[in-house]
Symmetry: C2
């Protein structure tokens, strides 16, 4: 994919520290936040721009489509009541889109996760494997 | 606009309580949060669905375009460092998209506004008028 950059920039170290890097979804890096308290995914488009409105139109459409597929997957797979989608980037400037599955019985409902999710849990490797397989079966993970 | 509904549903009472209703932007209600601490806008598409991925494609494209125009306006008019865009909806189910202008010197940087913005300020009527005129001049407000 060549929109916006010649080659995708490396992932910001903070994203790598916070997340499991699962692979790519239609060319966007697909990350799963290490906090397993609730299903919290991130999509990182291959670009150096930092705002959604700066994305070239084809890349924006591709990101929206990948986010929609992911949202449908998250809502069904984790039986969520609501999907929260956000591009914030006040701390990590590399453009990334949060896709977070929320349930009325989760650890910080109804507050958004950012700055409010204090509960902590890790993904067991077997769960990571099964989520990855399910994402691939749902068309949310390339390869 | 007839995508998703025969006529646009009324605005949720909580949105009306929290925001100044400025008008419409390409058919989406354009609201300005009453807290003038930082420029916090909302777009409410004419639909009864509650998730971005449920929007009919033309309405989704129209919402994205309106949000992008608004983001460009907010970044320039309020000299912001970053735009935060989010569809959350854990409390108010009516689908609404936040477009928030952030500055490194604002009252809750770098935290997102939701649940973190404790400073309060009101818009003087003259400021509301000038923002509304500027929005119209920038093509962000119909009519």
């Amino acid at each position: 994919m060549s929109q916006g950059t010649d080659s995708p920039p490396a992932l910001h170290p903070q994203l790598v520290a916070d997340c499991h890097v699962l692979g790519a979804s239609a060319g966007h890096a697909l990350l799963l936040h290490r906090n397993a308290t609730l299903p919290w995914f991130l999509l990182v488009p291959p670009t150096t721009v930092t705002e959604l409105f700066e994305l070239p139109a084809p890349l924006r459409a591709s990101l929206d489509a990948a986010a929609d597929r992911l949202a449908v997957f998250v809502k069904q797979h984790f039986r969520c009541d609501k999907i929260n989608v956000a591009a914030i980037g006040n701390i990590v400037p590399q453009l990334h889109l949060h896709v977070v599955g929320r349930r009325r019985d989760d650890a910080c409902w109804p507050r958004p996760v950012w700055g409010h999710l204090t509960a902590l849990a890790d993904y067991p490797p077997a769960t990571l494997d099964s989520v990855t397989r399910a994402l691939r079966a749902a068309g949310c993970l390339d390869g």
